[in-house]
Amino acid sequence: MRSGYVLKLLENGERIDGRKLDQFRDIKVETDIVQRAEGSARVKIGKTDVIVGVKTEIGQPFADMPNMGILKTGAEFTPIASPDFESGPPGEDATELARVVDRGIRESDCIDLEKLCIKEGEKAWEIYVDVHIINHDGNLIDASTLAAVAALKKTKIPKLEDDKIIRDKFEKKLPLLHTPITVTVGKIFDKFIVDPLKEEEDVFDSKLSAAVMEDGKICALQKSGENGLSLEDINNMIDLAVKKSKEIRKLL
């Protein structure tokens, strides 16, 4: 079986595409690829291909945060992207992906939500970040977060006239404060691996995704996978994520 081959290589510290364990595939970041969106980006990590579009709407602020704009993140595993994806409403994995991307953006204070309030308690900008998977070859969390942040960096807020959105005129750039970079580290045989291929993800014991800020602080963590991790594993994985985040940050 193919997974046996993948495992055998990993046991020797090798990978099916010849990369080092701590090496990413080539990453391509394109922005402004969808004209209708207020911000957009397409990120390719090897064969993994993700598009994020940002749309802006007007809504009511949450009662407990009356002077803040609203961030909403969604993700769809479109059946076009993988033979394993099926049509229908977002399942468990898509929901988790959306929430992990959301947490990286939200907890880093990436968007200056306080500047997105139009009228306290009544009107505020809603920022919709929608992740669309085009081709799945592993590492969706890192690719999606990178695409989301790249798209937000290009997002413009439309003009308002009499509280109506004028879609073809823009008032300002989306106010941003921070740039989170999420790096996922997988573990198998006491080895730590970044940027897994789909076939590698399938054999991992577990994974840890860490959203890292400019100053090396962590703002979100998510463990996944069927096996547990020791405290030492977690420390090593966080350190590796912080190290790799510096390389990826240069792409933005």
Binding site: T95, E226, I238
Partner: protein, 238 residues
């Protein structure tokens, strides 16, 4: 998280409810609370109450979902509509879907699923009253319910949350601390091998701070582990 408050969450080393930083709330645990279930438990941490029921291992239907070499776990985390101030709309929210998934992964390493091919272990968790740390309270209840059901386990699963307020590490966050603390880290682990099976975090912390909080949770978790064992033993003493 992310919300700001003028209220001091720690005053003179005491938290809002009078606890010391690393002190957990009053814990109450009961097993065998749902007669119909194969195993069940109710766990209370302060004002957070979770009830868990386990059905199985039992045959899994529809048949095409069966795994020929192992059992699967299905997990449902659900908040009762009346469990929080503003009514929760019934049905799975995105939050509940994610928590159900991480809860399943938190429990899975404790079980011998390969011993039950084609079967399912259903774990249902209902949050009756929420005051912070509901997912970890739910996992403690599920751990006891699995043991109560007699499902063989490598170890019990202990879960506890930690965080940070004004440079002080706190353990077992209540609702207000959950909303306003600088960070919130829920973890679940198998205490004997200190194997961490659930780890999430939001907030902003340095890697060193995360390490310190995890160490602290693992240590304080021993108390929860002891309580879990006590309540299970008590069941057979009667």
């Amino acid at each position: 998280m992310g919300m700001k408050t003028d209220e001091k969450l720690i005053v003179k080393g005491k938290r809002l409810d009078g606890r010391k930083p690393d002190e957990i709330r009053e814990i109450e645990m009961k097993v065998g609370v749902i007669p119909n279930a194969n195993g069940s438990a109710q766990v209370r941490f302060g004002n957070t109450i979770a009830i868990a029921g386990v059905y199985g291992p039992r045959p899994l239907f529809p048949k095409h979902r069966q795994e020929s070499d192992r059992a699967i776990i299905q997990c449902r985390y659900n908040m009762a509509p009346f469990s929080v101030e503003e009514r929760v709309r019934p049905g799975p929210s995105r939050r509940a879907v994610e928590i159900s998934k991480v809860t399943r992964l938190a429990l899975e390493p404790a079980l011998f699923l390969k011993d039950y091919p084609e079967m399912v272990v259903d774990v249902y968790i209902e949050i009756l009253q929420a005051d912070g740390s509901t997912r970890v309270t739910g996992i403690n209840a599920a751990s006891l319910a699995l043991a109560d059901a007699g499902v063989p386990m490598k170890d019990l699963v202990v879960a506890l949350s930690g965080g940070k307020i004004d440079d002080t590490i706190i353990i077992d966050l209540c609702g207000k601390e959950d909303n306003y603390s600088e960070a919130d880290i829920p973890i679940a682990f198998l205490p004997r091998k200190k194997e961490i099976t659930l780890l999430q975090m939001d907030g902003q912390l340095t890697p060193q701070e995360i390490k310190d909080i995890l160490k602290n949770i693992l240590k304080t978790g021993e108390t929860v582990y002891k309580k879990q064992k006590e309540v299970l033993k008590k069941k057979y003493e009667k």
